[in-house]
Amino acid sequence: MAVFSFASASGILASVLPYLPERIGRALLALPADLQDKIEEIRLRRGRPAMIHFGSDDLVLSEAGKPLVVEEKEILFTLQQAGNSSLYAYEEEIRNGFLTIAGGHRLGLVGQVAVEGGKIKTLRHPGGLNLRLVRELPGVGEPVLPYLLEDVGDAQRQVRSGLIISPPQAGKTTLLRDLARLLSSGLVQAGWRGVKVGLVDERSELAACYQGVPQRDVGLRTDVLDGCPKAEGIMLLLRSMSPAVIVVDEIGRPNDVAAIAEAINAGVALLATAHGKDLDDLRRRPMFRELLAAGVFQRYIILSRRLGPGTLEAVLDENGRPLAPFGGRRGWGRNMAGPNGVGGEPK
């Protein structure tokens, strides 16, 4: 029960140590510094050794040469710290399977579920936690930004609607976040001043709000609706916040389409992401066929993991013709420095 401090920690790890049990914290700090910087996930499973994941590799944490087996009270400790000692106030988040902590990192949780009416009611016995560290890579959207801007005469420019198409874990959320920031805050090199951006952050992943305040830099002129269903969020923003651009993550449900159509009709540009390999992949899916045929998006940005997460494959125009065959511009990767040489410290 002694007061324990991890004063020696720095960087991204320091922001999550207050949430971790003492033994885990010590084991993490005993890792080489370059490995500490690469950690993407910290996994705690009750009765099994704690692990970290980085890149496509993982490692079992050890204590005095033996695997560090996680105890029930350590799971509880982390949960209580993440839930401000008041987990009862986070029922909705627990039903969705994760809590967002200060710094925007996410704590995913599994265990024995209590079900009521076919839906998850609560988690009776938390059995495993996944602390996902979120890194910001400011600047990754810079090469893409010019393709989203359209000259409309009188030195005026407006934003085109764009769709980022990418398989999982290829960096679409990271790119989307940075594009939202650039569209909102402006970019001097591109002579772009910035416009009002409305962001519907259904899964609290883009802005990573903690008590309503974005923990990631999503731009100066950005209004965030945290934890809000996309379709309703889009309508609310249209009614009340007069955005020039609406940014949403992972479209793909039928009622998203109606809301998107509404936004386009209102003359608002839309920036979204979709799971998929390429444009043809999306065209095969009924839900997207309609959206694509309506010509909602003027630009398609294709990402892959070919050269690591964030490999920019191509930017396509409204007809699917490549404007810029990036041909696999170096991915930013999670373990590499960002394009600005910034390693992605939380802001």
């Binding site: 029960m1 400790f77 209580q80 839930g83 000692s85 008041s86 009862y88 106030a89 029922e91 988690l123």
Partner: protein, 172 residues
């Protein structure tokens, strides 16, 4: 003359000791009552307003006052300070610190300690249930304490006085 003076002093001390013992019974009943009111407030903070626990405890502490209130305030303070304590740890620490000031008996404290192991947990209904259980047990203790009061308050007061007399007689 000295004998008379000494006897009076002995009688005064033993009588006030008896009264103090008797007062503990009265205070225990009062504190059990305060605890129940405090836990009821805590219940509504948790189940209806969803106030975070540290804040809820501080609020309950301020409303309750006295040694019982101090216990709640202290537990809230320990949690709010972010000292890497679980709810159960902070709760136990607070009750240990407050125990000296409280007239509550070990069995009363045990009810509170049991509750601390459950507080801050995952489901709202569970929280309500545990609080209600604790309330029911405290109510039982309060009834028992009232019974005890009737019997022992007078007993201790007499005992103090009579005990004093007995000591004086022996010394004479």
């Amino acid at each position: 003359m000295i004998k008379v003076g000494g006897s009076l002093i002995i009688l005064f001390v033993s009588t006030s000791l008896g009264f103090q013992m008797a007062a503990r019974y009265v205070r225990r009943t009062a504190e059990l009552g305060q605890l129940q009111v405090a836990l009821k407030t805590l219940e509504s903070e948790i189940a209806y307003t969803l106030t975070p626990l540290p804040e809820a405890l501080l609020r309950v502490g301020a409303l309750t006052g006295g040694p019982v209130g101090q216990f709640f305030s202290r537990a809230g303070q320990l949690l709010a300070e972010g000292q890497r304590l679980t709810v159960a740890e902070a709760w136990t620490m607070a009750i240990r610190e407050a125990a000296g000031e409280l007239a509550l008996q070990a069995r009363d404290l045990q009810i509170i300690l049991d509750l601390g192991n459950r507080l801050g947990g995952l489901d709202r209904e569970g929280q309500k249930k545990y609080l209600e259980q604790a309330l029911a047990r405290l109510w039982q203790e309060e009834l028992a304490s009232l019974e005890g009061e009737k019997k022992y308050v007078r007993l201790w007061r007499y005992l103090g006085f009579v005990g004093g007399l007995a000591v004086i007689l022996l010394l004479l």
